[in-house]
Point group: C3
Chain length 405, copies 3
Amino acid sequence: MATSSSFSAYTVQGQMSSAEARKSLHYLFNISTSSCKQSIQCNAFSSHAYMKKMRLSSFGNQLKLGIAERSSQRKGVYCSAMDVDNSRASFSPGKKFQLDDVIEAQQFDRDTLSAIFEVARDMEKVEKNSPGSQILKGFLMATLFYEPSTRTRLSFESAMKRLGGEVLTTENAREFSSAAKGETLEDTIRTVEGYSDIIVMRHFESGAARRAAATAGIPVINAGDGPGQHPTQALLDVYTIEREVGKLDGIKLALVGDLANGRTVRSLAYLLSKYQGVKIYFVSPDVVKMKDDIKGYLTSKGVEWEESADLMEVASKCDVVYQTRIQRERFGERVDLYEEARGKYIVDKDVMNAMQKHAVVMHPLPRLDEITVGVDDDPRAAYFRQAKNGLYIRMALLKLLLVGW
Amino acid sequence: MATSSSFSAYTVQGQMSSAEARKSLHYLFNISTSSCKQSIQCNAFSSHAYMKKMRLSSFGNQLKLGIAERSSQRKGVYCSAMDVDNSRASFSPGKKFQLDDVIEAQQFDRDTLSAIFEVARDMEKVEKNSPGSQILKGFLMATLFYEPSTRTRLSFESAMKRLGGEVLTTENAREFSSAAKGETLEDTIRTVEGYSDIIVMRHFESGAARRAAATAGIPVINAGDGPGQHPTQALLDVYTIEREVGKLDGIKLALVGDLANGRTVRSLAYLLSKYQGVKIYFVSPDVVKMKDDIKGYLTSKGVEWEESADLMEVASKCDVVYQTRIQRERFGERVDLYEEARGKYIVDKDVMNAMQKHAVVMHPLPRLDEITVGVDDDPRAAYFRQAKNGLYIRMALLKLLLVGW
Amino acid sequence: MATSSSFSAYTVQGQMSSAEARKSLHYLFNISTSSCKQSIQCNAFSSHAYMKKMRLSSFGNQLKLGIAERSSQRKGVYCSAMDVDNSRASFSPGKKFQLDDVIEAQQFDRDTLSAIFEVARDMEKVEKNSPGSQILKGFLMATLFYEPSTRTRLSFESAMKRLGGEVLTTENAREFSSAAKGETLEDTIRTVEGYSDIIVMRHFESGAARRAAATAGIPVINAGDGPGQHPTQALLDVYTIEREVGKLDGIKLALVGDLANGRTVRSLAYLLSKYQGVKIYFVSPDVVKMKDDIKGYLTSKGVEWEESADLMEVASKCDVVYQTRIQRERFGERVDLYEEARGKYIVDKDVMNAMQKHAVVMHPLPRLDEITVGVDDDPRAAYFRQAKNGLYIRMALLKLLLVGW
């Protein structure tokens, strides 16, 4: 969703993040343009610094605002699982920034994260004390899932409903664009945006969320697009570290398990590079080691990192042990390699005993046996609280995108 | 849903379209009948002129009202994709008519359409200005889909929620009546009507909606039954023409593409015959030409029509170019014929250039490439607005069926 | 959900059944414990007499309450389709009992049933007269269905929405615990309880609901777990008998059809043993006769029963004829045996003629032809009213579990 235009920047910018504001915008344009058919092309530079193409057309006494990202100069950039270029989020000190879409972890800088986390903490209070909150009353969220992900979907839908909003659900969105019918994602988005105020989309193709956001006149949240991005997971991970440890600067973190394929750990490493004095330990079987792009990026950002094969020793030094699941599907027919990899670094009571009193264990879930069930009772087992934090982060994002600060 | 009975006609007729009224009816009968078990059979002539069989039975201190359409004299009539007999909707001048179910395009006459469109326009205002509308607060809609149709389902569910109503969703309603379990549609309806206030049903069998309406004591809306009817699509098409062109009498319309199989274009041709001075052009590959029944019907109603192979020439004369998708599945293994047919009449920028300034392009969606993406930016491309109008029409119908005028 | 603890019994017991109360509990503990990390293990004896293990842990300024049933002493007891040991529900005369979870028919004693039925009757009034009821406003129910059961799901979701509550739906909950990902049911529950206030679970494994309840800190309702239990069906059956016949003591009931495999008839026989002077007739083909465990249990409880092959004669003596569907899938390739069995005892107009004026026919639905369609018009055909009663029972249970009496 684009939020500003070159000819009515002030008014629009102040209001554009809510459905209400979209309507104001409509009215505004109704006043300032004639009612004959016309098409105005203009370029706008939105507050999170994407180039957008805005198309404004009037017909009869109605006006349409179409927005398409001018993405030609970025072509090919968004194909890998985790690009490590600079944050593109602009933050004006002294002012609240404008959040239009949530597409990728890279769009958030430190100040943006901090501001979102503040709202998330408010959301904890709303969830606990205001069961009938009406903050998003009258707003409609469409969960457009091209592949099922019950956990993520329920988390978003709970967030919306906890704030008094309503939900349209589909888990078979592929039907929209089935090979047989052949509709483009863009056409689907243009239809669905007519039925809702915000779209939460899960897709099997990397870059799909960006395409959807470029098309939609309403906010889009990426709930995972293939091997690409899952930005709300990245946000809840960082939020959980801050909630559990009490700080982000100077944090010592172990990333354990499948570091080659997990977009989670890659995003997390990327986001932590925005903080001071961070130290990251990579503990993984050889076949699924952290890739060089992230290592190089961390180095370029002055983040200390080292690889280790000794989980016990690392655990004793860290504030956070972030365990991940070894994904069998990555090993094809080499079941032997998989079995060897998955059994190598298990978080069990011995590891807990090695850990400091204030340190915590995190995991993006679902887990198999890479954390033993016996650990669950330990108050330092933070993974279910981490899942719950996903609710608060999503509540915060929905609020920010729909009604602003 | 039947709305009147021979023994308490006045009271019932005035109130029966709302769930509230159903309750009034219950109480009314509670007063006027004894509490012993009895069964009363009576014939009633409902306001939209279907013959119904009403069954009233009391047991204990409760009363049940069962309604079944007396359909014997119509048997076999409703099997084809689009019957072209007369409208069966009765409209009493000076009074608002009663809408009980929405089963087929033929049930609407010109006055009914006009009245519904008036409400739909109100709904545009509700959607834009009253995000927290409570018009249908407390009402529960069951979307009983025997085959998935995400687009149609989301449109209905959005309509219900935009008006403050609630939704029960199922996209696997076939499970209800699976071969293994073998439940009849009628039994399913009798169960679901106990859980909801209105049923929106999609079914794979022509005539299923009529059967459901004959069984249900609550309103039923047909959201498409196999090759049969999809009346809300027909309504939104006519509504869009009126909104975009500003009139229906004297309209010049081109129906392009698959005219043999599309229920959409058949319903549209049928409904337009209710207006004065309409001219329809059929532009289609030979293999999917408009069938003779519709042509004959148009002629009998004094509607001018002609077939043409020259899309450019037709486009230059029309108010509306209604493009449709050529459906591959109709061609079986003759992919060559399909490819030839689908490439024949494309709406592109050249066609747009030939069209008049006030004319619009419509399409029921989804589209493939029968309208090129380059056309989307043209303000005369009305197909996404047309999809949005589906929301307003469905809001209007839900309001009319549940709370009346 | 556990509701009491040894160190703050009074406060907790009075409030623990509502989501609100859970929050009170949190605050209570916040006051009484320090904010350092600690873990407290304590045993509590909950009001429905399950031993629970409560785990209370604090971290930062938050507290977690984890509860796990101590089930070791019961291991292996809950594997059969219908255990016939004593009720475990305790009811304190003069006080309303506490309902924590709904797991199995056996947990209800006569007083509990009576109290629930009283609330269900209130719910009939709410549904009829208060379309916008807000009794459960702000509460969120998760329908966690590991196998689809549209009828049961819609009934629960309607119940929740009729009371102003909200719903999170999933019918593909298996994805949570797919073999590929391998998450345990317990982990799934710990995640979902973070998103909702009550879980309604359908599962393919006997005992799954008990495991879920032992894990969850919020109430769990069993909506059927494999061949195990379907307690809300059992409750609505007994409720329907009372509503239709006006009494439960002294009732004469025929159980007809598949008595070997149907958990419905087994549960019903079990529950009726709690009433005085009950007489049960078993009428079934030889291949699907009632099993000895239930017969023995009835005898031990002083319930008269007899087997009969003469449906007409039995029907003439009973208050209730409870017909069931013969399940084809039980007969494998012996289609001949299935055909013989299913055609043997049909409830048709002749059976209705033999029945007394006040007697009724019940059926858990769906039906095939074991009750002929011609019977539907008879006011004594109670099966659709029975389905509707499922709504009232579920409304009552949701209210009791979430906000108490």
